[in-house]
Symmetry: C2
Subunit: 361 residues, 2 copies
């Protein structure tokens, strides 16, 4: 889930991030999720004959239940709301459906799992029936492409369009789950591709709407496609789940998601700005990579040599972007050869987006 937080993190309650790392993963969504997690009943489930046992509850990219016959069932849900996650003037129905499904499937990739089936719950004003049909069609098409065919759904009337996507996935019995917790000081940090493209693409779409440009260059088209039609890293997740100590998908920007991984693992982290693969040049490109979100590349922490070797064998690109440090060091960024600075836990946050007018997102 793009808004997943680091759970109640019982293991790490004595190892909170140091003051200088900023307030921890503290987007509006994270803060509210923490309030909710605090009031939930505990999750020690009564395992019984034929009843799946909980392996991993709220707080990671997907929940995991041990299936009695072997393997794990992965479950994740994600939302896409009009005026928050999409704007009808920028996003055609096809993009709304395809993006929402890709974002949810990315949570399965982030666990190292394989998607198996998709459910959608669609909200649409009665006047928007045609858009609802197109969105559903696009969602089903993308789900099918990603190996998670649409198996069911629900539709209800509402004031604005909204698409909620649930994906069920599997993880074979012998395969380890890729969790947010488990990163160790000394681990290398990797990402699986260029970052910032989706945010730069959105910016281009907004510019075109405001008349800044009539048409895009092929390079710009590629950035727009990163935003409108993202690709979850299923192969990377499945191949690297056993090699990495921890991982997640980068849905809300490297900065905010790295804060989440660090908090879940009880560690600090250092990002070398010069090593982050950027979709766009300069300070603007770095900003988009750190704080833009919606790239859906994976963020991995693990032993440098082993992760590189497994990635090479599977022909999966990985880019080292920094290293895991002790929790006391916080989450930091080195912009050049000089000293490091705190990397703020800032990124894509629906709580912030919803306060803006729709055109701001």
């Amino acid at each position: 889930m793009r808004t997943g937080v680091d759970g109640r993190a019982k293991d790490h309650s004595d190892r909170l991030p140091a003051e200088d790392s900023g307030p921890g993963p503290s987007s509006g969504e994270d803060r509210l999720l923490r309030r909710i997690l605090d009031v939930l009943p505990s999750l020690e489930t009564a395992a019984g004959e034929g009843i799946p046992r909980l392996i991993l509850g709220p707080g990671d990219d997907a929940a995991a239940l041990a299936w009695p016959g072997g393997g794990a069932l992965l479950l994740t849900t994600d939302a896409s709301e009009e005026g928050v996650h999409f704007d009808r003037r920028l996003h055609p129905p096809r993009a709304i459906g395809r993006r929402a499904v890709a974002a949810a499937v990315s949570d399965i990739a982030a666990m190292g799992g394989r998607p198996a089936g998709t459910l959608i719950s669609l909200v649409a004003p009665p006047s928007e029936e045609t858009a609802a049909v197109r969105i559903s069609e696009a969602a089903a098409e993308r789900a099918r492409e990603l190996g998670a065919p649409l198996v069911g759904g629900n539709i209800t009337a509402g004031k604005r369009l909204g698409l909620h996507v649930t994906v069920a996935g599997t993880s074979p019995a012998e395969a380890p789950l890729l969790r947010r917790s488990g990163a160790k000081p000394g681990d290398a940090l990797f990402v699986t591709g260029k970052l910032g493209g989706a945010a730069l693409g959105l910016s281009l779409l907004r510019g075109r709407r405001e008349g800044a440009t009539a048409s895009f260059t092929p390079e710009e088209d590629a950035l727009v496609a990163r935003h409108l039609d993202p690709a979850p890293r299923l192969e990377a997740g499945a191949a690297l789940a056993g090699a990495a100590h921890a991982g997640m998908d980068i849905s809300d920007g490297l900065a905010l998601d790295l804060h989440r991984l660090a908090a879940a693992s009880g560690v600090g982290a250092l990002v070398e700005a010069s090593r982050v693969p950027l979709a766009g040049p300069g300070a603007r490109g770095l900003d988009a990579a750190l704080f833009g979100g919606e790239d859906y590349e994976l963020l991995l922490a693990g032993p440098q040599t082993r992760v590189r070797a497994v990635a090479a064998a599977a022909e999966i690109p990985v880019f080292p972007v920094g290293r895991v440090t002790g929790v006391g060091e916080g989450v930091r960024l080195r912009r050049a050869k000089g000293p490091t600075e705190p990397l703020p836990p800032r990124g894509w946050d629906s709580w912030t987006a919803a306060r803006w007018p729709p055109e701001a997102r």
Copy 2:
């Protein structure tokens, strides 16, 4: 799903309901779902090693995937939108959370399955954080009570409150699924409890808000509780899945849901009004039972003697309300000893509800 339709019903395309049964299950939701089903890619999934095979796709109460290790995974999703499914002036956050979870779990009951885990996707305006926490807490509490603990979720900002609930359930390898299709002419029709209580309870709540009454009698309190805190019939579904030929939950009223079951099975049906167990007296009580919805009792079709015997052995109440007829006879109602009349496919429909002002629902 409360809005489930009868799928593409390939088996029955040559046996459409007769004209006199009305236009078939034709709520706004059904009509739109049919448009969507028409454009979806086909669902013949490539079964592969470790990949669940689809048993039952869109169109029943829940989807079913054959789990490689044995048994079936059931998946269903349901939505509850402010101004459509609930009204903040009538429904406290606790009721919003509990109702939405019970409605989704009811779809698992309707398949004869056992719930295993729940995901929620919550939409809330940033100004409604406290309500969001209370709704989540209530949803988690109800999920736990029903054996489907909350294992994950998502929260996002939006203009109005909305709660989307996905429930994963299981069906043991040896257990048959309770489907909407399969009813045969000559089968008896049963319901598992009194109908109309939820609609009458909602009506009482509205009356109190308008100052019609200051307090409720114990009988009225029970009706209000049927609306605010419904109970899915998990035991009934599990016990009777093997005895009945077809079944579903009554989420949108006996009339509309019976039309759906009849269409999925390619049959007609006759309801004897005098035999429908009513939560309230008189014509108003019958109207609430036929067209009110949200009762979440089960509707079953099967051999009279066998269903009664299995129900008695499991100590589950069942009430015969009519019988399955040939498709040419349509879906009909006998109000007294006299002639029968068409039973219109009318019931709870978000498409209608959303056109009303919020206080009308």
